[in-house]
Symmetry: C2
Subunit: 168 residues, 2 copies
Protein backbone atom coordinates (compact mmCIF):
# COMPACT_ATOMS: atom_id res chain seq x y z
CA UNK A 1 0.00 0.00 0.00
CA UNK A 2 1.92 3.02 -1.25
CA UNK A 3 -0.07 5.58 0.74
CA UNK A 4 1.12 4.13 4.03
CA UNK A 5 4.70 3.97 2.82
CA UNK A 6 4.52 7.64 2.05
CA UNK A 7 3.52 8.36 5.64
CA UNK A 8 6.25 6.13 6.94
CA UNK A 9 8.71 7.98 4.78
CA UNK A 10 7.52 11.31 6.12
CA UNK A 11 7.99 10.02 9.63
CA UNK A 12 11.46 8.78 8.86
CA UNK A 13 12.44 12.16 7.51
CA UNK A 14 11.11 13.86 10.60
CA UNK A 15 13.05 11.48 12.80
CA UNK A 16 16.33 11.70 10.97
CA UNK A 17 16.12 15.48 11.07
CA UNK A 18 16.70 15.17 14.81
CA UNK A 19 19.07 12.26 14.75
CA UNK A 20 16.43 9.71 15.55
CA UNK A 21 15.76 6.41 13.89
CA UNK A 22 12.88 4.66 12.27
CA UNK A 23 12.86 1.34 14.09
CA UNK A 24 10.91 -1.84 13.53
CA UNK A 25 8.57 -0.97 16.38
CA UNK A 26 7.90 2.53 15.12
CA UNK A 27 7.25 1.28 11.62
CA UNK A 28 4.79 -1.30 12.91
CA UNK A 29 2.92 1.31 14.92
CA UNK A 30 2.65 3.76 12.05
CA UNK A 31 1.49 0.98 9.78
CA UNK A 32 -1.19 -0.02 12.26
CA UNK A 33 -2.37 3.52 12.83
CA UNK A 34 -2.59 4.44 9.20
CA UNK A 35 -4.02 1.21 7.91
CA UNK A 36 -6.99 0.59 10.13
CA UNK A 37 -7.70 3.17 12.75
CA UNK A 38 -8.97 6.58 12.50
CA UNK A 39 -9.82 7.69 15.99
CA UNK A 40 -8.18 5.53 18.59
CA UNK A 41 -6.89 5.42 22.13
CA UNK A 42 -3.37 4.60 23.17
CA UNK A 43 -4.37 1.45 25.01
CA UNK A 44 -6.46 0.29 22.11
CA UNK A 45 -3.41 0.52 19.92
CA UNK A 46 -1.36 -1.35 22.46
CA UNK A 47 -3.96 -4.09 22.51
CA UNK A 48 -4.11 -4.36 18.73
CA UNK A 49 -0.38 -4.82 18.56
CA UNK A 50 -0.57 -7.53 21.15
CA UNK A 51 -3.27 -9.27 19.14
CA UNK A 52 -0.96 -9.38 16.18
CA UNK A 53 1.64 -10.85 18.52
CA UNK A 54 3.93 -7.91 17.95
CA UNK A 55 5.07 -7.26 21.45
CA UNK A 56 5.56 -3.56 21.82
CA UNK A 57 5.65 -2.18 25.31
CA UNK A 58 3.34 0.45 26.58
CA UNK A 59 6.20 2.88 27.03
CA UNK A 60 7.12 2.53 23.38
CA UNK A 61 3.56 3.09 22.27
CA UNK A 62 3.35 6.31 24.22
CA UNK A 63 6.80 7.43 23.13
CA UNK A 64 5.99 6.80 19.50
CA UNK A 65 2.67 8.58 19.74
CA UNK A 66 4.46 11.59 21.14
CA UNK A 67 6.85 11.57 18.21
CA UNK A 68 4.01 11.20 15.76
CA UNK A 69 2.21 14.14 17.32
CA UNK A 70 5.35 16.22 17.10
CA UNK A 71 5.87 15.24 13.51
CA UNK A 72 2.33 16.32 12.68
CA UNK A 73 1.25 12.90 11.43
CA UNK A 74 -1.08 12.34 14.34
CA UNK A 75 -3.23 14.66 16.39
CA UNK A 76 -4.18 14.37 20.00
CA UNK A 77 -7.84 15.18 20.59
CA UNK A 78 -10.30 15.36 23.39
CA UNK A 79 -13.53 13.70 22.42
CA UNK A 80 -15.49 14.60 25.50
CA UNK A 81 -13.93 11.82 27.50
CA UNK A 82 -11.56 11.96 30.36
CA UNK A 83 -8.51 10.80 28.48
CA UNK A 84 -6.94 11.46 25.14
CA UNK A 85 -7.85 10.09 21.78
CA UNK A 86 -5.65 10.25 18.76
CA UNK A 87 -6.41 10.59 15.10
CA UNK A 88 -4.10 10.33 12.15
CA UNK A 89 -3.83 13.39 10.01
CA UNK A 90 -4.52 12.94 6.37
CA UNK A 91 -3.37 15.27 3.66
CA UNK A 92 -6.40 17.40 4.30
CA UNK A 93 -6.67 20.02 6.89
CA UNK A 94 -8.15 20.82 10.22
CA UNK A 95 -11.64 19.78 11.21
CA UNK A 96 -13.88 19.69 14.26
CA UNK A 97 -16.14 17.02 15.73
CA UNK A 98 -19.79 16.26 16.30
CA UNK A 99 -20.01 13.55 18.94
CA UNK A 100 -23.09 11.42 19.48
CA UNK A 101 -23.68 10.86 23.17
CA UNK A 102 -25.92 7.88 22.43
CA UNK A 103 -23.74 5.71 20.19
CA UNK A 104 -20.35 7.39 20.44
CA UNK A 105 -20.16 8.12 16.73
CA UNK A 106 -17.80 10.90 15.72
CA UNK A 107 -18.69 13.02 12.71
CA UNK A 108 -16.15 15.42 11.31
CA UNK A 109 -16.82 18.73 9.73
CA UNK A 110 -14.93 21.72 8.52
CA UNK A 111 -16.60 25.06 8.15
CA UNK A 112 -14.58 28.01 6.87
CA UNK A 113 -17.27 30.44 7.96
CA UNK A 114 -16.91 29.23 11.53
CA UNK A 115 -13.13 29.51 11.36
CA UNK A 116 -13.38 33.01 10.01
CA UNK A 117 -15.66 34.06 12.82
CA UNK A 118 -13.25 32.68 15.39
CA UNK A 119 -10.47 34.78 13.94
CA UNK A 120 -12.68 37.84 14.24
CA UNK A 121 -13.31 37.10 17.89
CA UNK A 122 -9.59 36.70 18.53
CA UNK A 123 -8.85 39.95 16.79
CA UNK A 124 -11.41 41.72 18.92
CA UNK A 125 -9.81 40.31 22.07
CA UNK A 126 -6.27 40.98 20.77
CA UNK A 127 -5.55 37.29 21.06
CA UNK A 128 -3.13 35.51 18.72
CA UNK A 129 -4.59 32.08 18.06
CA UNK A 130 -2.54 29.05 17.18
CA UNK A 131 -5.06 26.28 17.38
CA UNK A 132 -8.57 25.49 18.45
CA UNK A 133 -10.67 22.60 19.46
CA UNK A 134 -14.43 22.39 19.09
CA UNK A 135 -16.68 19.51 19.96
CA UNK A 136 -20.42 19.61 19.64
CA UNK A 137 -22.19 16.96 21.69
CA UNK A 138 -25.62 15.71 20.84
CA UNK A 139 -27.50 12.91 19.13
CA UNK A 140 -26.82 11.75 15.58
CA UNK A 141 -29.49 11.27 12.98
CA UNK A 142 -29.79 7.51 13.23
CA UNK A 143 -29.91 7.53 17.03
CA UNK A 144 -32.45 10.31 16.87
CA UNK A 145 -34.69 8.18 14.66
CA UNK A 146 -34.38 5.34 17.14
CA UNK A 147 -35.76 7.72 19.74
CA UNK A 148 -32.51 8.01 21.67
CA UNK A 149 -32.58 10.88 24.07
CA UNK A 150 -29.77 13.33 24.61
CA UNK A 151 -27.79 12.69 27.76
CA UNK A 152 -29.92 13.58 30.77
CA UNK A 153 -30.29 17.30 31.36
CA UNK A 154 -28.04 17.48 34.38
CA UNK A 155 -25.23 15.93 32.45
CA UNK A 156 -25.79 18.28 29.60
CA UNK A 157 -24.98 21.19 31.84
CA UNK A 158 -21.46 19.91 32.03
CA UNK A 159 -19.13 19.57 29.10
CA UNK A 160 -20.65 16.34 27.95
CA UNK A 161 -18.94 14.58 30.75
CA UNK A 162 -19.23 10.92 30.23
CA UNK A 163 -20.23 11.25 26.62
CA UNK A 164 -18.61 8.08 25.50
CA UNK A 165 -18.66 6.58 28.91
CA UNK A 166 -22.30 5.90 28.17
CA UNK A 167 -21.19 3.58 25.40
CA UNK A 168 -19.66 1.12 27.76
Amino acid sequence: MPAIDREIHRFEEFLSRQGQKLTRERTALVREIFSTHYHFEADELLFKMKEKSLKISRATVYRTLELLVKSGLVRRVHLGEDHYHYEHVRGDSHHDHLICTACGAVIEFNDPELERRQLEICARKKFTPTFHNLQILGVCDSCHRKGEQPASPDRVMSIGEGAMRLRK
Copy 2:
Protein backbone atom coordinates in the same frame (compact mmCIF):
# COMPACT_ATOMS: atom_id res chain seq x y z
CA MET B 1 -22.95 37.97 51.29
CA PRO B 2 -26.43 37.39 50.00
CA ALA B 3 -25.37 36.26 46.50
CA ILE B 4 -23.65 33.23 47.90
CA ASP B 5 -26.55 32.40 50.14
CA ARG B 6 -28.79 32.37 47.13
CA GLU B 7 -26.57 29.77 45.49
CA ILE B 8 -26.48 27.73 48.64
CA HIS B 9 -30.24 27.86 48.77
CA ARG B 10 -30.49 26.67 45.17
CA PHE B 11 -28.21 23.79 46.01
CA GLU B 12 -30.24 22.88 49.05
CA GLU B 13 -33.40 22.81 46.98
CA PHE B 14 -31.75 20.58 44.42
CA LEU B 15 -30.58 18.22 47.13
CA SER B 16 -33.84 18.00 49.00
CA ARG B 17 -35.63 17.24 45.76
CA GLN B 18 -33.80 13.91 45.85
CA GLY B 19 -33.89 13.32 49.56
CA GLN B 20 -30.36 14.56 50.13
CA LYS B 21 -29.10 16.97 52.69
CA LEU B 22 -27.12 20.16 52.76
CA THR B 23 -24.39 19.35 55.23
CA ARG B 24 -21.75 21.48 56.83
CA GLU B 25 -19.11 20.14 54.43
CA ARG B 26 -21.22 20.82 51.38
CA THR B 27 -22.03 24.31 52.53
CA ALA B 28 -18.37 25.05 53.13
CA LEU B 29 -17.44 23.82 49.67
CA VAL B 30 -20.11 25.85 47.92
CA ARG B 31 -19.10 28.89 49.90
CA GLU B 32 -15.49 28.44 48.92
CA ILE B 33 -16.27 27.86 45.26
CA PHE B 34 -18.59 30.80 44.89
CA SER B 35 -16.65 33.26 46.97
CA THR B 36 -13.17 33.12 45.55
CA HIS B 37 -12.63 30.76 42.66
CA TYR B 38 -13.72 30.97 39.19
CA HIS B 39 -11.83 28.30 37.32
CA PHE B 40 -10.37 25.71 39.63
CA GLU B 41 -9.25 22.12 39.93
CA ALA B 42 -10.57 19.60 42.38
CA ASP B 43 -7.27 19.22 44.18
CA GLU B 44 -6.83 22.94 44.39
CA LEU B 45 -10.16 23.15 46.18
CA LEU B 46 -9.15 20.35 48.51
CA PHE B 47 -5.98 22.22 49.32
CA LYS B 48 -7.78 25.51 49.99
CA MET B 49 -10.08 23.79 52.43
CA LYS B 50 -7.12 22.31 54.24
CA GLU B 51 -5.54 25.75 54.47
CA LYS B 52 -8.62 27.02 56.22
CA SER B 53 -8.27 24.03 58.52
CA LEU B 54 -11.59 22.69 57.44
CA LYS B 55 -10.80 19.06 57.03
CA ILE B 56 -12.86 17.72 54.18
CA SER B 57 -11.75 14.50 52.60
CA ARG B 58 -10.92 14.14 48.96
CA ALA B 59 -13.82 11.76 48.44
CA THR B 60 -16.25 14.35 49.78
CA VAL B 61 -14.82 17.04 47.53
CA TYR B 62 -15.33 14.88 44.48
CA ARG B 63 -18.74 13.74 45.60
CA THR B 64 -19.85 17.30 46.18
CA LEU B 65 -18.49 18.47 42.86
CA GLU B 66 -20.49 15.77 41.16
CA LEU B 67 -23.63 16.96 42.90
CA LEU B 68 -22.90 20.55 41.98
CA VAL B 69 -22.42 19.61 38.36
CA LYS B 70 -25.70 17.70 38.37
CA SER B 71 -27.45 20.63 39.97
CA GLY B 72 -26.15 22.91 37.27
CA LEU B 73 -24.34 25.23 39.67
CA VAL B 74 -20.94 24.16 38.46
CA ARG B 75 -19.62 23.13 35.07
CA ARG B 76 -16.88 20.69 34.30
CA VAL B 77 -14.59 21.95 31.56
CA HIS B 78 -11.54 20.88 29.67
CA LEU B 79 -9.06 23.70 29.44
CA GLY B 80 -6.57 22.01 27.18
CA GLU B 81 -5.07 20.08 30.02
CA ASP B 82 -5.17 16.43 30.77
CA HIS B 83 -7.59 16.61 33.66
CA TYR B 84 -10.77 18.43 34.47
CA HIS B 85 -11.25 21.97 35.59
CA TYR B 86 -14.42 23.32 37.07
CA GLU B 87 -16.07 26.67 36.88
CA HIS B 88 -19.05 27.96 38.78
CA VAL B 89 -22.01 29.00 36.73
CA ARG B 90 -23.25 32.48 37.24
CA GLY B 91 -26.66 33.72 36.33
CA ASP B 92 -25.44 34.38 32.84
CA SER B 93 -25.21 31.86 30.14
CA HIS B 94 -22.85 29.73 28.16
CA HIS B 95 -19.46 30.94 27.02
CA ASP B 96 -16.29 29.60 25.43
CA HIS B 97 -12.61 30.06 26.26
CA LEU B 98 -9.48 31.64 24.86
CA ILE B 99 -6.50 30.06 26.60
CA CYS B 100 -3.06 31.62 26.64
CA THR B 101 -0.39 28.95 26.24
CA ALA B 102 2.24 31.30 27.63
CA CYS B 103 0.73 32.40 30.94
CA GLY B 104 -2.27 30.14 31.31
CA ALA B 105 -4.77 32.98 31.38
CA VAL B 106 -8.32 32.07 30.47
CA ILE B 107 -10.44 34.64 28.68
CA GLU B 108 -14.12 34.02 28.24
CA PHE B 109 -16.24 35.09 25.35
CA ASN B 110 -19.72 34.54 24.05
CA ASP B 111 -20.54 35.09 20.43
CA PRO B 112 -24.11 34.56 19.22
CA GLU B 113 -23.01 34.60 15.60
CA LEU B 114 -20.71 31.66 16.28
CA GLU B 115 -23.46 29.80 18.10
CA ARG B 116 -25.86 30.39 15.24
CA ARG B 117 -23.38 29.03 12.73
CA GLN B 118 -22.89 25.91 14.80
CA LEU B 119 -26.61 25.26 14.75
CA GLU B 120 -26.58 25.58 10.98
CA ILE B 121 -23.82 23.02 10.73
CA CYS B 122 -25.74 20.63 12.95
CA ALA B 123 -28.87 21.08 10.90
CA ARG B 124 -26.95 20.31 7.75
CA LYS B 125 -25.60 17.11 9.31
CA LYS B 126 -28.99 16.23 10.84
CA PHE B 127 -27.39 16.30 14.25
CA THR B 128 -29.31 17.31 17.37
CA PRO B 129 -26.91 19.27 19.53
CA THR B 130 -27.15 19.49 23.28
CA PHE B 131 -23.91 21.14 24.21
CA HIS B 132 -20.62 22.24 22.83
CA ASN B 133 -17.17 23.05 23.96
CA LEU B 134 -14.75 25.36 22.18
CA GLN B 135 -11.29 26.34 23.26
CA ILE B 136 -9.02 28.55 21.23
CA LEU B 137 -5.37 28.27 22.17
CA GLY B 138 -2.87 30.99 21.51
CA VAL B 139 -1.10 33.93 23.10
CA CYS B 140 -2.86 36.72 24.95
CA ASP B 141 -2.22 40.37 24.31
CA SER B 142 0.08 41.04 27.25
CA CYS B 143 2.18 37.95 26.59
CA HIS B 144 2.33 38.87 22.96
CA ARG B 145 3.74 42.29 23.87
CA LYS B 146 6.34 40.59 26.02
CA GLY B 147 7.41 38.73 22.92
CA GLU B 148 6.14 35.38 24.12
CA GLN B 149 5.99 32.87 21.33
CA PRO B 150 3.13 30.51 20.71
CA ALA B 151 3.86 26.98 21.86
CA SER B 152 6.39 25.44 19.49
CA PRO B 153 4.98 24.44 16.10
CA ASP B 154 5.02 20.73 16.75
CA ARG B 155 2.96 21.18 19.86
CA VAL B 156 0.56 23.39 18.03
CA MET B 157 -0.33 20.55 15.74
CA SER B 158 -1.85 18.78 18.67
CA ILE B 159 -4.77 20.09 20.65
CA GLY B 160 -2.69 22.44 22.67
CA GLU B 161 -1.41 19.56 24.67
CA GLY B 162 0.30 20.84 27.71
CA ALA B 163 -1.08 24.31 27.38
CA MET B 164 -1.10 24.99 31.05
CA ARG B 165 1.56 22.51 31.80
CA LEU B 166 3.94 25.16 30.51
CA ARG B 167 2.91 27.32 33.42
CA LYS B 168 4.51 25.04 35.95
